[in-house]
Symmetry: C2
Subunit: 460 residues, 2 copies
């Protein structure tokens, strides 16, 4: 029996204990965007640092102006070093009443199709995925006494709230963090049978638009018909963002956007991605994007504008005949290669200002965001990882662009000069960011086994 | 000294005590639209019933399926009987942080211009106005031992939440409530020096529009660009309600709308109502209504469509890259003569449905509403009241249509066969339904004196 087979067997034998450890981490409500949970975020970070220390890592919790960053470093003199990145923070859980069980009381549920699932906030995004890597390391240490490559671990607590402190931290610790390759486990499978390696990530620009009309809330009986209503004004602006062709009508929005490279377009041809199988499971039928683009292009390689939240006026029980003074929208844009997030932010703001009635005003409360990144597709480690995944899953991974954003990947390239291998095991139906988030037990188990194989392959 | 002069002198002498009584009523947070305040609503009603009983009225609190209705009846054998209607409930107080002092701790403030003001929720709408009438009755009883006309008082507790129970109550008590004339004190002055009698009231139709797209909240990184966003869908529908000419583009919306009568148009010519003096004080400059209509027409004699509240997605601290599953808008329409509220509701709903993407759905949660009413302008009591107001204020009242809605006035005509005299003393800057609602001390004092004169005049 090879070392690799013995490590894989140890993963299988240790699965129940691995689950117990994951559940302990999932029980900590580390919601980073809400300051009420700051102590819980620290507790989650400390839990991870303690776990890494138990595996022989030199581990610690690094304070930042926000939530702390966990680092761990193994030094066994291996020929190569990889840096693993993940995040221990999770999304808010509202609307809480749509959860079938408390979000921070993890449990194993069995779906109607008989699939065993880990249900909890953070099960897929990203605690469950982080632990696939940690458990892979644990199995190597247990069976062979050491890791096949040296490993630096960096797990942050602000990925779901803008990652404001990770870039300064990397910049301040470039020597300690430098490695041959970065590994990230925060993405998905192509489908439950097919692994995926992500070759590009969209960027992200957040903003909050606050429109003010009258200087107070008004009685709609006295002023209705004459006074501007900021909910009407904001609705009209949002309605005009997308043209009838599905394109975003903001002047300058598409500046810098490049067409996807040929090797990526070629890979799309093999994908069975249809509106039915992509949108059907969430209760939709037709894609609403640009009419001349394919579905896979819309969700991976084209920029977007979304209203993530909007509110104004009376939103309580019953009715109130008010013309509100203020209307607010939280918006975000997914960005693709060569779009400048600052320029996009300025274009959005100019668009809003240009449509504002003369006696209304607007304030913008958002931040700057991150640019899209592409991973070099000819990096030889990609081929090694692809072979490892093929061995575990019985079929080669799909290599695609991914619609989500992991801003830190751009920092790895810029500050550390290293490419990133993006491999993850979540599924489209994992309800990430939604009530009843889950992670298939198979994603967790075979995810650990996948990292065992990848780490062995990267050792060369 | 005449009886009238002695009663007016008693009003002046008793002003401080009158204020104390009003403050006691204002301290009761009788918010009818929020069921958490049901006991406070009852307490306000009971306070009024007790006060009326102290004036010799046969007074009681009448239970309804909602908040109770106060009735009081004087029987002194006078030649004529009037029925006074008002409401003891108040609007919600949010946003609470915009109040300069607690909304249910009434106080006298002095404005920058030196005007003394009663500041509290309900000071103008409608507790302060109700008490102008009650204090006028008190002064008569105190000085002359009786009222110049017999009086029936009916004060409800659900005017700010749809008045669901007042029409059934009237229908069940037509004999007890029938009078020669109804009096309502829930409207405004033309300006601080000029009284007003209201000849028409707009109707009101409420609805709540709930748009659903995907069957769960979605991650904007996975689905952004392809999945429908209900905030975009709802914004687009709302944006299309008003055409570029300011007209409401809902087919059938204007069905039945009649042009204002000539005597009303003639009265507008004398009014100095400009965008500067109407909208300037609330921080706006230009009216947003139909481009071919005058400002006074927009706010008194044309129907409206307003979004009173709207929400969807993540509205907490920080950001969340979610495509929400649901977006909601509370809307209301002010209606004018001959519009049918049920037909308008159906037209609004058909408009929304016609603009909904095929894979999205809509639900409507609102009620039916009330039609507009007009008061007979040749009723001889109008002339009597006008003379009484002219004597108090030194100038004749303006007779106009009013943009607000008091649905019960239509019931008085329909169920009791009586016209309504609408006289009130609130001002445009009273911040009705808004934070820091106030009622000028002069409105209260001269309001009491006005009712003394009107009651004397109506006795004939």
């Amino acid at each position: 029996m090879s070392d690799l087979d013995r490590v894989l067997a140890a993963v299988d034998a240790d699965l129940d204990a691995s689950l117990e450890r994951l559940f302990a981490l999932l029980r900590i409500p580390s919601i980073s965007t809400d300051s009420a949970y700051a102590a819980e975020c620290r507790r989650a970070g400390q839990w991870l640092a303690d776990d890494l220390a138990g595996l022989g890592f030199e581990a610690k919790l690094n304070d930042t102006p926000g939530h702390p960053i966990v680092t761990g470093r193994s030094d066994t003199g291996a020929a190569r070093r990889v840096m693993f990145y993940g995040h221990y923070d999770v999304q808010p859980v509202d609307p809480l009443d749509l959860w079938n069980s408390p979000p921070f009381e993890p449990r194993i549920a069995t779906s109607a199709e008989g699939v065993k699932q880990i249900v909890a906030r953070g099960s897929a995004d990203d605690k469950g995925q982080v632990m696939t890597f940690v458990e892979a390391c644990r199995a190597f240490v247990k069976v062979t006494g050491k890791l096949p490559v040296d490993v630096t671990v960096m797990v942050e607590g602000e990925e779901e709230s803008g990652s404001a402190n990770i870039a300064p931290f990397i910049a301040a610790h470039t020597d300690a963090l430098k490695a041959d390759l970065a590994l990230v486990c925060d993405t998905g499978m192509w489908d439950p049978e097919t692994p995926a390696i992500i070759l590009s990530l969209r960027g992200l620009m957040h903003d909050e638009i606050v429109v003010r009309c009258a200087d107070r809330d008004l009685h709609s009986g006295y002023y209705g018909g004459a006074a501007a209503n900021p909910l009407h004004v904001l609705s009209k602006i949002i309605a005009e963002v997308h043209g009838p062709d599905g394109r975003i009508a903001i002047p300058g929005f598409y500046d810098g956007v490049i067409e996807p490279p040929d090797y990526m377009k070629a890979s799309w041809a093999d994908l069975d991605l249809t509106p039915e199988n992509f949108l059907g499971p969430i209760g939709l039928s037709g894609p609403i994007g640009e009419k001349d683009r394919s579905l896979v292009e819309m969700i991976s390689s084209r920029p977007t504008f979304e209203v993530n939240g909007m509110w104004g006026g009376y939103i309580g029980e019953g009715s109130k005949t008010v013309i509100p003074a203020i209307a607010t929208a939280k918006i975000s844009c997914r960005l693709v290669a060569n779009q400048d997030p600052v320029q996009v932010r300025d274009a959005v703001r100019a668009f809003v200002r240009s449509r504002l009635p003369a006696d209304c005003s607007v304030e913008f409360l958002g931040g700057e965001g991150s640019a899209a990144v592409a991973v070099a597709h000819d990096n030889p480690d990609l081929a090694r990882a692809a072979q490892a995944l093929a061995a575990e899953w019985g079929k080669p991974p799909v290599t695609i662009g991914e619609g989500g954003s992991i801003p830190v990947v751009g920092q790895f390239k810029k500050l550390l000069g290293q490419d990133t291998l993006l491999v993850g095991f979540s599924l489209d139906d994992d309800r990430i960011h939604s009530p009843n988030e889950k992670y298939d037990l198979a994603s967790f188990h075979k995810g650990i086994r996948s990292w065992v194989r990848i780490l062995a392959a990267l050792a060369g």
